[in-house]
């Protein structure tokens, strides 16, 4: 009950024009640019506004016939059943076809397409088929976080609206980590996503009521710093007692310490002005899935609006998700009916789920479009957001011609309002292009890329 009330309160603050924080954040961006000329080119649009990049993952692919538009590529295509909710946002999106993830294909590894769909989506890397010996690749968002993360308080943000506990037995002998993480900070270190809206919010803006948060966050940083100093020593001396194998495990602890330390320093350096978005802290995980998904999208909006980060991932649900959607009359499990035996009724139900996810995304775009950036454009205009899945046809487990939407104009670098056909290029080429737009010129190759899709 209370959950509903609080969510309403929270939403009222977002998107509907509590416009204040963005200006302060832009100032932060330009100040940084003035101080360090080299950083000036990082993740900014031609007007100097921040350029945000996000990747949103939806599970189990989409029924291809209902997803793809008909008509000619370019601006005059005909809307499809599944993508229809995006029509009001036509001028902000591009429908991308012909992008592939060959590393998700079976190759010599046999079954396990859901684990691969999820694990390769942002890594473009063949996964080591093992239940415990995890080896994927660094994901593109984390590459960007390394390249441009220094421009913001948080190098990147990882969100998921999939709170179902990691059950026993994951896909076909693959470690569960592959199937539950799209973000990877190294080939062996999946980057856990925040699934609780309250905790995600408090991490970004501090706990307590609006107005108290800055002080709370500062106090928290002080205490964290004092703990850090001490445990760092402890970890180093422990390192020396361990064998090389275990030492690598403890490295994860040290990496975490370093990241936290950097963040504390950044918080001091960037100052906190305008970082409290002035809305109520959202509650925990709402009961209704739509509320849950929208709340996480809201947090993404806020983090971009306040320029807390310029890189984010959001996994709506893991590939293979068997969630049912009673609210739209689909009581069957998503994964279960994605293998639809070409039965009309089942296909239609899967399409309804695909549509439901697209509607949620459209809702997010609407909010992002309503938030004005310092240069007068919308935050959506100053973003590049890839919405897609690692499976193309969930029934047959294909990984070519993946469903993909690119939202935003990247501050003018992209020309939205079109249906674009690439006719069989690696998805990673798109990633390299996205990286270049952020100013991360050093990224020349990523995953199985064969080049860069720069402008199209």
């Amino acid at each position: 009950m209370n959950t509903n009330i609080s969510r309403r309160h929270f939403l009222r603050g977002v998107g509907v024009g509590v416009a204040l924080p963005a200006f302060a954040s832009i100032r932060t961006g330009s100040l940084l640019a003035a101080e360090t000329p080299a950083a000036a080119k990082l993740a900014v649009t031609p007007t100097g506004a921040p350029l945000r990049t996000a990747f949103v993952y939806f599970p189990n692919g989409a029924i291809p016939a209902a997803w793809w538009p008909s008509g000619t590529p370019g601006p005059d295509f005909k809307w499809s059943r599944t993508l229809a909710p995006l029509e009001p946002h036509k001028q902000s999106i591009q429908i991308l076809s012909g992008l592939d993830h060959h590393t998700a294909e079976a190759g010599p590894d046999g079954g396990g397409d859901h684990a691969r769909a999820n694990g390769t989506f942002l890594t473009g890397h063949r996964l080591k088929k093992s239940a415990t010996d995890i080896h994927a690749g660094i994901s593109i968002d984390q590459v960007l976080a390394r390249e441009i993360g220094k421009a913001t308080r948080f190098p990147s943000l990882e969100l998921a609206s999939d709170s179902i506990s990691k059950g026993t037995g994951c896909d076909s002998g693959y470690a569960c980590a592959y199937q539950f993480n799209i973000s990877w900070s190294s080939p062996t270190a999946p980057k856990a996503a925040e699934t609780n809206p309250r905790q995600a919010f408090e991490r970004l803006f501090g706990d307590g009521k609006p107005g108290e948060r800055l002080a709370n966050a500062a106090r928290r940083r002080n205490e964290e710093q004092s703990v850090l100093d001490f445990v760092l020593d402890d970890a180093k001396s422990m390192q020396s007692r361990l064998d090389p194998h275990d030492r690598r495990k403890l490295d994860q602890y040290l990496t975490g310490l370093r990241e936290l330390e950097t963040r504390i320093q950044k918080a001091e350096k960037f100052g906190d002005a305008g970082k409290d978005p002035g809305v109520d802290t959202p509650p925990g995980i709402p009961i209704e899935y739509a509320d849950y998904v929208q709340l996480m999208y809201d947090i993404l909006v806020l983090s971009f609006q306040t320029d807390s980060t310029r890189v984010a991932t959001f996994m709506l649900a893991h590939d293979g998700s068997n969630r049912s959607f009673e609210q739209i009359g689909v009581v069957e499990g998503h994964h279960d009916i994605s293998h639809h035996f070409n039965k009309k009724e089942l296909i239609e139900k899967v399409q309804d789920i695909d549509l439901w996810y697209v509607r949620q995304f459209a809702e997010f775009l609407k909010k992002l479009d309503a938030v004005k950036d310092a240069d007068g454009k919308s935050v959506l205009y100053n973003s590049q957001i890839l919405y897609g899945s690692g499976n193309a046809d969930g029934n047959r487990h294909t990984h070519t011609n993946l469903p993909a939407i690119l939202a935003g104009a990247a501050g003018g670098a992209l020309k939205p309002g079109r249906y674009v056909k690439f006719g069989g290029k690696p998805m990673c080429n798109m990633f390299v292009g996205m990286a270049h737009r952020t100013g991360a010129a050093a990224v020349t190759k990523f995953g199985d890329s064969t080049g860069a899709i720069e402008s199209f």
Partner: protein
Amino acid sequence: MIAFRNVRVELIRLMGICLFAGGSVPVAVAGDTGGVEEFKKAVAPVLDDYCIRCHDADTKKGGISFDSADPSALIANREQWNKAVKVLRAGLMPPKGRARPTAQQIDGIVTWVEESVFHIDPKNPDPGRVTIRRLNRVEYRNTIRDLMGVDFNTDVEFPADDTGHGFDTIGDVLTLSPLLLEKYIAASRTIIAKAVPTVPWVVAEKRIPGKRFVTSGKPATGGGRFGFNSDVLSLSYYKGAAYTNEFDCQQTGKYQLVVDLTANEQYVDNQFDYNKCKWTFKVDGKPVLEKEYSRQGGRPYRYDLDVDWKAGKHELAVEIQPLTKERQIRNLTLRLQGVTVRGPMAKEHWVHPVNYSKYFPAKVPDDAAGRRKVAQTILSAFAARAYRRPVDDASVEKLARLAEATYTQPGQTFESGVARAMTVIIASPRFLFREEGTVPAKAGEHPLIDEFALASRLSYFLWSSMPDDELFRLARNGELRKNLPAQITRMLADPKSGEFVRQFTGQWLQARMLDNIQINAFAVIARENVPDPKAQARQSRFRELVRKPSEKLTEAEKKELETLRKTAFQFGGRGRGRGGFGPRIELTPDLRRAMRRETEMAFEHVLKGDISLLELLDADYTFLNAKLATYYGIPGVTGDQMRLVKLPKDSPRGGILTEGTTLIVTSNPTRTSPVKRGLFVLDNLLGSPPPPPPPDIPPLEKAMGSKDGKPLTLREQLAIHRASPVCSSCHNRMDPLGLALENFNALGRWRDKEQGHEIDSKGELITGESFASVKELKKILVTDRKLDFYRCLTEKMLTYALGRGLEDFDTKAVDDIVNRIVAADGKPSALISGIVESTPFQRRRAEETDPTPPPAGSHPAAIQEHQ
């Protein structure tokens, strides 16, 4: 069979010893030459007789070839031999209808494989390597509870742990992300702040929970709406009431009363409830607080009152009166959380805060040196417990200096300084990871883990928590290893072992999944009948309407949609479903909890009673309360208490196969899945899971056809499926097991029909045994397949206990445990002590050892020279 193996092992050992005694040949060589020679002599002939027909170099069925043109290469293929051992033992190969090797022949091959292919050195077996274990979130929570007496809800605060091999205890996959590290640091502050007092003296406090207020001698009925907060007194805005509590005051003096209240409402969309009430708080009959409340949405109120009390009884009273008679729309309540009596306020009556003596047992001196000494003593003991091993002086010294740096600051207490150092201890990797020491060993020998590491392995295995004082005491005195049997018995008798039951069954039998799994009761039950075209039309219309953007719906459509929302997917009101589906069925949280308890209690019953493990599969009892018994259709069980219930003779329940848990976690949201159920049995009970499905699954449209105007049953669909050669080899194994359970729907309830057809549950296992019902299947499992079950359970539990996946060289350790179980007639004590005493549990791999010895026969010439 066992006798035979032992003789052979003895022989090999003797050979080794003799050769070694001869002085010229290293021990290991005996095995290596045995590799090729023994292969030719004892293994190849058996393969030629039974296997080579399909598995020669040309046919190479299933990609497996036993062609011995190059025996060294063949022997070196560990993975293939591992598979071979598994299928031979499970009776999966040679396939049904072909001649099979005798048990002795199979055993001979297994023994040869263990020694010559897996290179298991019986005198110094490889214990494998366990990656340093991070506490998972269950272990973290329990460890904090046992260390600090604080419950920190890690389910909410920490991200879920990744699992590997089906368990969340696996060191390799328990990664530590930066996000989690941040949460660990935040948690350490929260926990210490909650547990450790930072001042030595406080005003005494006594809390009277709201529920202790009574009316005419009786407590109020009903707590919160969900009944979870039973400490609260809930008062309705719409009805006058008065409740009192008699407080016994021990000492005359000044007191403070703190009254905690919340004003709550049940939310109703866009409609408000304007009712008001008056609330009065009386002390000894005199009103001291009078307030008016309207709707408040859960807002808390706190009032402080000062009173002068004489020793003796004092009456506290709360009264509520409605002030308005507006229409009741929401349910407005005032909830008295409690009244805290603080005092006497005079300093001489102050007391130590709660838990003070737990952390500060000795008086804190005033001088700097004395304080430092006390800080050292406290922190040294605390760190040793938190790190679960002795702590070096330098570490203690550093902690004490950190405490001192804090408590010497103005305004800080000694206690707050110590608490700060404790925060650091809880955030340290030495707390978060389980560091293990070893006992010095001879070169090349795999060392025993030290006594402290053993204490931790034991306690995290059997309690999912840190060792207790007794284990620490034994470890300090070096007496734990000597006293293992007694300690295992003690630990299993301790209520903390309930956590082992919960975590192990939660993962092995997937009972954890019950909390979240989505099952649509309406759809499941609808499937038992011939499809109702009207109901389908309603559902289809509902989907059509929700598909439309809401702004495009006409008023009439909106109305229609609201009606359909209530009727299309739910049972009709008042007990009887519209489609004639019988009484309303729902998988409520209560039922889910009861089912999970059924699974846990059945396991606990066998474990703690030390009765045969086979009763896990086949028993004439199960654990039920009234709700679950009614749900299962078993008469004569009353009350909420879960307990052992003897089943009626013809009941199909009893044993894992027919527990609600198993039946539900293997189902899809709208239907059963015989495939998932079959896989569950093969994977978790028989230990022979089929390989994962191929990536390109044929579409099988025909399987969705119909017969006599009715859709095909799952049995019929699967039969079409199995006709496809890509599918048959695995589905011939899975499907019969799953189809045997078709009389149980996706809700775990008995049914006679599916899609209007009578259910047929008979079948035949791939190993040849046939059965007419699930009851007969259970009998087959506990007789013909009992060794498979022992082995499977051993492998699962060993994986859970060690925190790593099993390797081929673990075969021997598993064999030994299985032999102990057999010798003990299936007693679980043999399994638990077998695991604890096993090499991988007792030892760590020697660091210098190359984990994979050179392939057998890679230097045959050199070896022959030595002979």
